[in-house]
Structures are given as C-alpha cells and as structure tokens.
C-alpha cells in the first residue's frame, strides 16, 4: 500500500471507526429492545426528576422573589437589626431605640435622594380578628403605617382609596383592608364606608386592596393597614417593631440613597462618631440577591438528592454493559483480529453506554419539562425553562454512560484476542 496516503487515511480512519461504533450502538440497542428500553426508562426517570425539580425551583425562586420583593422601584428597608442576620444576641438588639416618626420626618426634610419615607409598625406575628355585623375574619395581621405604605409596596387599591397624610396625622380610625378580610367580611357588598370592629374600636373602611396573587396565597392577602398613629393609640404593644421603608428617586443610584440615609439616620438618632449603628439598612437588591442565593442552595440540594436516582441508573448501565461485553467476547476477538485497536473497542462500548443513557436523558428532558409545566400550572408560577439545565441534563446523562461504561469498556478493550476468539 502506498505510504503517502497514510496520514490522511489515519485521520479519516478515526471518523470511520466512530461512525461504525455509533451505528453498532444503535444496532445493539435495537436488538436488545427490552434490556435497553428498561435502562433508558431508568435513566429517563432520573433525568425527569432532576429537571422537573430544577425547573420548578427556578420558577418558584423567581416567583418568590417577585412576591417578597414586591416593590416595582428600588427601595431601602430599615430596621433595628439585620432581618436575616444571626450571631448577636437578639435581646440585646431589641433593646435598641425604636425607629420613630421623628426619624421619618428628619429624613423627609433632609434627604435629597429619598422619594418617600414610610414608617410601619410590625406587630411581630400578633394576629387579630376583624368583625362586621355577623361576619368575622380569621386571625389576620393588622399593621400600622404612614400613608406611603401603598406606594412603598406597590399595592393596588381595588375599591376606595388609601388613607391620607391628614388622616394619619390626626390618628383617624380608618382602615384599608387586604384582599382576604375584604372578601371575608363583605363577600357581596361594597366595603367602602362600612364600619368594622377590632376589639372594641370601630374603624371606617376607606379602601380595599386587590389580591397580590402571590404563591404565598392567603397569607400575603390576609392583613389590614391602619394609620400608625391610630395603631399606637389602639393596638400598640411593647413587642411591636418599627421599620422604615424608603423609595429612592429614580435619578439617584440605590447606593447613593443608602449612603445619604445612613448618614442622616445617624444624625437623627444622635450617634456619636465612634458609635455603632443602631439600625440596619437592607436594599431591595439585597433581598433579591439573598433570595436568589437561598433558592440556588435549595436547588442544589435537590439536584444532589435527585442525582442519586441517576447514579442508580448508572449502576444499571454498568450492569448491562458488563453483560453486553461478556456476551460479545467473541465479537471483540473478531474485531481485534480484523485490526481494531484496544481504543477502538473501548470507544465502541463507551459509545454504546453513552447512547443508552443519552437517549434516556433526551426522553427525561422531554418528560421533565412536561412535568414542570404541569406543576407550574398547578401552583401558578411562571414556567421557565432554564436552557442551560437542558444542556446540563443531556451532557450529564451521557456522561453517566461514559463513567459507568468505563469499567465494562475497559474490560472489553483488555481482552486477549486469542482467548476472545475461542470463547464459547
């Protein structure tokens, strides 16, 4: 044979063996339909679980972020301590001076980057019952707030209006109902102008909110808002926590707002130069990032757990490939006699394994996305297909074939051609 075409042929030769090995893999899978089918189903189930999990988690994460960080505009949230922080003794932190309307007024007067400043009183989980004639609500949360509450949290008023600054300053007994209590107390009636009771006080309903349509469902709609002054007068309690919400003017960067608010609050709260802050500023960005990292961690854990299913599939692959290799010992011998190198044999069985698991992967991707869509419909969250995860799922399932096929393939490649040829 002419020597000149050798290098070219060698290069092209690899392609020929590749094609043959792939054709062979498909052929073997077709011949052993039952065995291959079961294995493919196994891998498909694994991939379905992982992908459905990831898709649901990613949609859920986006939805939770949207619900929790509900404001459409960037804002700052200020409390006496890091709402998510740990470490320090909470009782110590609770001894800090509450935020107050004086701080709010100070910021309103001096803060150039602040758009609106809201004070709201969080009852720290204490719940109340609202009554109207014969009807009563479940236990709901009643918070106190300035007139800026609605603006701050991008709440839509469905009926009536939010109370005014004037009403707040005069601690009028007016109330804005969340979607939940409005529905409970006034199922078929207009709630506006009605007087409802909390304990022994009567409040005039001036507004009712639209549902926030959150996945948290009832919880996020089950509340009512009264002016902070009214709250202090009727409902106040030493466990209440005063918080501030500040929206920043669009022409300012969030960072600039944080810096200015930080400096002004220190002044307002009369902190000396060396003194530690007695408040904590969280930004909407911060919330968003924190939630993103939480959902990422949860996803990761879920993926790891559901990957165990895939590993089981992998062991199935190894088992089947071992059977396949020993059944085809003679074939390996023949191929070696015909000039197959050990790497060619290795490649043949690896391709076979990867084809099996890859096929399972494709089916699993399809089913997983279908399942995720079903779940998304069921609990109403945006169904998002993370493309990267589809690629990852496919590559991962094919790799399972490669990894678990490695031992059987190596076993085939190391056969002694003479023994393999005479194997019965």
């Amino acid at each position: 044979m002419a020597a000149d075409g050798t290098i070219e042929r060698a290069r092209e030769g690899k392609g020929q063996v590749w094609k043959e090995n792939f054709r062979q893999a498909v052929e073997v899978i077709r011949t052993h339909r039952m065995r291959s089918g079961l294995l493919i189903v196994g891998v498909a189930i694994g991939v379905t679980t992982v992908l459905a999990m990831v898709t649901v988690m990613s949609g859920l994460g986006k939805r939770v972020q949207k619900d929790v960080v509900s404001a459409n505009r960037p804002y700052l949230f200020i409390s006496r301590f890091d709402p998510m922080g740990g470490g320090r003794d909470r009782r110590d932190l609770l001894r800090r001076k509450q935020l107050s309307i004086r701080d709010v007024k100070f910021l309103e007067e001096n803060c150039g980057s602040c758009e609106r400043v809201d004070l709201n009183i969080d009852p720290q989980g204490r719940m109340r019952v609202l009554r109207y004639e014969g009807e009563r609500t479940n236990l709901i949360q009643v918070v106190g707030s300035t007139h800026n509450f609605g603006h701050m949290y991008s709440i839509t008023i469905e009926h009536g209006r939010f109370y005014t600054e004037f009403e707040a300053d005069r601690s009028r007994r007016v109330i804005v109902l969340g979607f939940g209590p409005a529905k409970d107390l006034f199922p078929h009636r207009d709630p506006i102008g009605k007087w409802i009771k909390i304990d022994n006080h009567q409040y005039e309903v001036v507004g009712a909110m639209a549902t926030r349509g959150s996945i948290l469902g009832g919880i996020s709609d089950n509340y009512a808002v009264v002016p902070y002054t009214t709250y202090e007068k009727d409902l106040g309690d030493r466990f209440d926590d005063y918080q501030m919400g500040i929206t920043i003017k669009p022409e300012y960067e969030l960072e600039e707002g944080v810096e200015e608010v930080h400096a002004l609050l220190r002044a307002s709260r009369k902190l000396g130069p060396g003194e530690e802050n007695d408040f904590y500023i969280t930004t909407s960005e911060g919330f968003r990032e924190m939630l993103a990292s939480i959902t990422t961690y949860i996803s990761l854990v879920l993926v790891v757990i559901s990957s165990i299913g895939l590993m089981v599939g992998g062991i199935g692959v190894m088992n089947i490939m071992l059977i396949s290799v020993s059944e085809r010992t003679r074939e390996v011998g023949i191929r070696m006699a015909m000039g197959a190198r050990r790497t060619d044999i290795m490649q043949q069985f690896l391709i076979e394994a990867a084809t099996l698991t890859g096929t399972g992967g494709l089916i699993g991707i399809f089913l997983g996305l279908l399942a995720a869509r079903g779940v998304a419909r069921l609990i109403r969250f945006p169904y998002s297909v993370p493309l990267i995860w589809i690629v990852v799922a496919f590559v991962f399932s094919a790799s399972i074939g490669l990894i678990f096929g490695l031992y059987p393939a190596n076993r085939a490649a190391r056969m002694d051609p003479i023994k393999a040829l005479h194997y019965e």
Binding site: R9, Q16, G333, I334, M338, G339, D344, L421
Partner: protein, 226 residues
C-alpha cells in the same frame, strides 16, 4: 522474503513450570507460497499460527513480516499489522452474527479507515470473486456453512493482505463443501496470494505446495510438493 522467522519461542509459565509451546522455529516463506502447517494437537501449531497472525508476540526470536520486524510491537501497532498485512480465516468462520455478509466483509476496511463508498465497492468486488454477490444482504444465520466460510474468505482478502492465515478452514464443513472451499483457496493462490493454512487433515494438506510438520514446538519436517 515475505516471512522470516528465526529462533522464535513462545514460553508459557504455568505456576513455576515453564512450557515451551513453540521451542525455537526458523522459517522462511516467499511471496505467493501455499503452505500447510500440520502436527498433532499440542505440537504448537496453533500457538505458532497466533504468532504468525500477530495476535501474540514471541517470548524470544525475530519475526519479519513483509520487511518489517514485528516481534516486539505495541498492541496498537500489532492491530495495524493485522489490519493491513493479515487476513484470517477461522474454522468456526467467526462472522459477526448481527451484520450482513457485506458488513462483515467491510469490517477490516472500517478499521483501516476506508470511507464508506470505497468500502462498499471493494466489498462487492470480493463478494463477487467468491461467488456471493446475491447473498451480500444476508446475515450469517441465513447462509449455509460453505457460504459463511466464503464470506469469511472474502473478508480475509478485502484489505489485500500480504498473507492469508487459515486455521482449519474446512473443519466445520462437510467434505463436499470442504472441496469447494479448497478449490476457492486454489484460485486465490493462483491470483498471486500467499496462504498459510493449519490443518491436521492430510487430504487438505495435499492441496498446498509445501507441508511443514511441527512436533513439540519444533519443525519436524518441511517438504515442498509443488
């Protein structure tokens, strides 16, 4: 000189015992010779065949095949030699059961890196030369024993090897079919090919032009008849 073997030994170690399956063979085979290797079982003829076929490497000695020293090549290089220089014909045919006759014949060409269209053309060519054009699409289990062995012979020739090694090629065939196969080998020899055939049947060896008898891993006699 196509084949030059000198001082070749194959020693197996079984426990502490050393068994010389091939105990020092010197042999030269010219191009276009037709050689039979005979000998009782245990004479080392199978082991020697494996060495000639580059399925195994000798424990000692040199083996020159087609001008190349092949006695201590790597596994990959041996695979390449088997692919280019040697065509195997086995007693039990050793065809891939799931592949058609044509696909079986193409197998060495695949590992030789020949593109598909050229493979098909050459497979058709050799299948025609063994009279099986109409059986190209059949699988081994749809073929008679004689037809299977012809597919195997076509496969052995498709890469135009330097030698065709046949190990008891008629051992699994009835005598009438055996004669047909032997006349096919005759034809192949006359076309200029070199054939080395292991057999223990005298009437098969009579088809060849040179008979080498082995005993206890050594050449007992080497007789040219043609």
């Amino acid at each position: 000189m196509l084949i030059k073997v000198s001082g070749v030994k194959k020693i197996y170690e079984v426990g502490i015992q050393k068994i010389e399956a091939v105990a020092g063979i010197d042999l030269e085979i010219e191009r276009n010779e037709y050689v039979a290797i005979m000998g009782p079982s245990g004479s080392g003829k199978s082991t020697f065949m494996n060495l000639l076929g580059c399925l195994d490497t000798p424990s000692a000695g040199d083996y020159w095949l087609n001008g190349k020293e092949v006695s201590n090549l790597s596994d990959d290089e041996l695979a390449r030699i088997r692919n280019r220089e040697i065509g195997f014909v086995f007693q039990t045919f050793n065809l891939l059961p799931r592949a058609t006759a044509a696909q079986n014949v193409e197998l060495p060409l695949i590992y030789g890196g020949i593109p598909a269209d050229e493979r098909r053309r050459r497979a058709e060519e050799v299948l025609e030369s063994v009279g099986l054009t109409d059986r190209a699409k059949h699988r081994p289990n749809e073929l008679s024993g004689g037809q299977r062995q012809r597919v195997a012979i076509a496969r052995a020739m498709v890469n135009r090897p330097s030698i065709i090694l046949a190990d008891e090629p008629t051992g699994n065939l009835d005598s009438k079919t055996g004669i047909e196969i032997m006349s096919l080998f005759d034809k192949i020899h006359q076309a200029g090919n070199t054939i080395v055939m292991v057999t223990h049947e005298k009437h098969i060896a009579e088809y060849t032009r040179r008979v080498i008898r082995l005993l206890d891993g050594k050449i007992e006699s080497d007789v040219r008849t043609g």
